[in-house]
Symmetry: C2
Subunit: 326 residues, 2 copies
C-alpha cells in the first residue's frame, strides 16, 4: 500500500495553482507502489497521477527519473508524461515532500501474464533501451554487483533464521558473482524493475510502462535478466521456457543481442536474482510488523537463484542462435 503522507485541500490547492490543469475534481490515494505516496487525481483538465516522493527516494535523482519519463514519452514510448508547471519545471513541493504530476496511463497490470504478454514486454523493454540511448543524464545503478556485499553484510548474521545454510550459500554465490561479473557490455538506460505490476495491458495489448524509480545506466542485457526473473517463473517456482523464449524473441525483434551479451545471460540472471533476494531479505528483517507494506518472501528469489545456477547457456532460457548478432 502506498499512502504514507496524506494531503489536505489547502496544500493541494496551493500545489495545483502552479499548473495549468483546471479545477480539482477528485483525488484518491492508490494502493500501489511501495516507495512513494500516490494519488489518482482528476481535474477539469484530465486525469493524473500525483506522486509525493518519500525519503527512500534521493531528491538528487529526481531530475533523472522525471527527465527520463519526459524523454521516453516524447520519443513515443508509452509511459507517464510529466506535467510541466507554469514555470516550466516538473517538480513541486507538497506536504513537505518533493512532488510531481504525470499523465494517467490507462491499462491494468496482469496478475497472471502469459507467453504472448512476455513477448510484448520484451519488445517494450528493447524499445525503451533504444529510446533511452540519447538521454543525456546519467545515474549509476545503486544496486549493482558492488553494492550487494554491503547490503548482504547487514543481513548476513540473521540469514540462517530464514533458512538454515543460507549464509554459507550466499557467501559463496557472492564471491562467484563478484569474480565473474562482466566488465564491459553494451550499456544504456535500463528500467531495472520491470515487474508485472509496472507494465499495463488493455485487452491483452501492452499499453504502457510505469515506475522508473530504479532506472539507471547499466548493461542493457541485465534488464533482460531481470525480466526473465520477474516474468518467466510460475507460481510453483518452475521456469517457463515458453515465456522465456517469447520474452527474448520480443526483445531481439527490436534490438538484436550480441553474442557476448547472450553468453553472460545466465550469470546476469543469477545476479538479478541475488539483487532481489538481498533487498527482500533486508526488508524482511528490518520492516516492522506494523508497517503498511506487505513484505515479500525473499526465498522466492533464492529459489530462482538456484535455478539460474544450473543454467549453462542462454538457450535454456529460450535464446536461439538466430537471436544473436556477432
Amino acid at each position: 500500500m502506498a499512502v504514507y503522507t496524506d494531503v489536505n485541500e489547502e496544500q493541494l490547492a496551493a500545489f495545483l495553482s502552479e499548473y495549468d490543469v483546471g479545477t480539482l475534481l477528485s483525488y484518491k490515494g492508490i494502493a500501489e507502489g511501495v516507495e512513494n505516496s500516490n494519488f489518482l487525481l482528476r481535474t477539469t483538465g484530465g486525469t493524473f497521477i500525483l506522486t509525493l516522493y518519500e525519503k527512500r527516494v534521493n531528491r538528487d535523482d529526481l531530475p533523472f527519473f522525471i527527465g527520463l519519463m519526459d524523454h521516453l514519452a516524447l520519443k513515443g514510448l508509452s509511459c507517464p508524461l510529466p506535467i510541466p508547471r507554469r514555470d516550466g519545471g516538473h517538480l513541486g513541493e507538497l506536504a513537505g515532500r518533493p512532488a510531481a504530476m504525470v499523465s494517467f496511463l490507462d491499462g491494468a497490470w496482469l496478475r497472471k501474464p502469459q507467453a504472448p504478454h512476455c513477448r510484448e514486454v520484451g519488445r517494450a523493454l528493447a524499445a525503451m533501451h533504444v529510446a533511452g540511448a540519447d538521454f543525456p543524464i546519467r545515474r549509476v545503478n545503486a544496486l549493482t554487483v558492488s553494492d550487494w556485499r554491503p547490503l548482504w553484510e547487514g543481513s548476513r548474521d540473521r540469514a540462517d533464521e530464514i533458512q538454515p545454510g543460507l549464509r554459507a550459500e550466499i557467501d559463496n554465490e557472492l564471491e562467484i558473482l563478484e569474480a565473474g561479473w562482466p566488465e564491459s557490455l553494451p550499456e544504456g538506460v535500463i528500467h531495472a524493475d520491470l515487474f508485472p505490476d509496472n507494465v499495463f495491458f488493455i485487452d491483452g495489448q501492452l499499453s504502457g510502462l510505469i515506475d522508473f524509480y530504479f532506472a539507471c545506466n547499466d548493461f542493457l542485457v541485465y534488464d533482460v535478466a531481470i525480466c526473465l526473473n520477474a516474468w518467466c517463473f510460475e507460481p510453483d517456482g518452475a521456469f517457463n521456457h515458453t515465456k522465456g523464449m517469447a520474452l527474448i524473441d520480443g526483445y531481439v525483434s527490436v534490438r538484436p543481442m550480441e553474442a557476448r551479451e547472450a553468453d553472460v545471460l545466465p550469470l546476469l540472471a543469477r545476479g538479478a536474482a541475488l539483487r532481489f533476494f538481498l533487498t527482500r531479505l533486508h526488508d524482511w528483517l528490518t520492516t516492522p510488523d506494523g508497517a503498511l507494506v506487505v513484505k515479500k518472501d525473499p526465498l522466492e528469489y533464492f529459489r530462482k537463484l538456484r535455478f539460474h545456477r544450473q543454467v549453462t547457456s542462454g538457450s535454456e532460457y529460450g535464446l536461439r542462435a538466430k537471436d544473436m548478432i556477432s
Copy 2:
C-alpha cells in the same frame, strides 16, 4: 487502507462480462474505506467504484445497502448509483466475495472542513432523510443503545489499560444512557457514519455522499448527533459552536426539527460519542499491530463524550428556537 482482496484479470473479465460497461481500461486499488476492498475502475463505458464486500459486512444486508443507494440516487441525492448487471441485479461475485459496481462520484473529502461545509452537510443529511422516507427495506441499527453493553463487555476488563478510571466512568455512562434513551422519536433511514471522509466537495460545494454501509433505520435526530461529533470538534478537542450552528441551520432548512427531537439532542450526542468510542476501543484492543489499518484513538470520543455530558440544552450546539417546530 483497503485492498484486502486482490483481483486477477480473468476474475475481473468474468465479472465484467455480466455488465454493459464496455472494455476494461484500468483498475487500481484505492486506499480508502476500512471495511471492504475498493477499486477504481475505468472502462470504455465510464468510471466506476468496484467494491468487494469483506467478511465484516453481512451479506444479508447488501440488498438494503445497494437498494438504498439506488433509491436515493433516483430521488436526486448525489450518491453512488449501483450499476445494474445484464440480468437486472446489482450484486455479483468476484474472487469469492459478493461484489458490486457503483458510479464514480467526483469530489474529494475535506481534511479541514469549515463552518460553510458543515452547513452543506446538514442540508445533505436532511435531504437524505427526506429522500429515504419511502425506502421500503428496513435494517435495524446494529450499533444502537442495546448493543453497546455487549460491545463494552468485550473491552471492559482492559479499559483501564487505555486510561485509568475509564472502566468506572463508562459503566456509569452506559447506565445513564440505557435508562434515559428515548423510546419514540421521528424515525427513518439514517446514514449513521457521515464523517468527513464520506462527504465529497468540489471547489467548496458539496458534490455527494458515499459509504452507506452503516445505514439503518433509527431516530433521524441521532444522525444529527453523529454529525455534531464528526464535524464540529476542532483537532484540539474543543467544540466549535459556529460549526454546530451551521450544521443544524443547514439541517433544519430542509427538514425542521421537532421540539422533542431538540430536547434529546444532548443525550443522543452522548450516545453517539459512546458508540464511536466503543467500536474504536474494540478495534484498538483487538486489531493486531501488523494489520493494514490505521487504528483510531478511542480517547478522542471519550473526550467528546465528556463534553456532551456538560451540555444541558441544544442551544449549546447552536440550535435556536426558530429551528424547531412544536
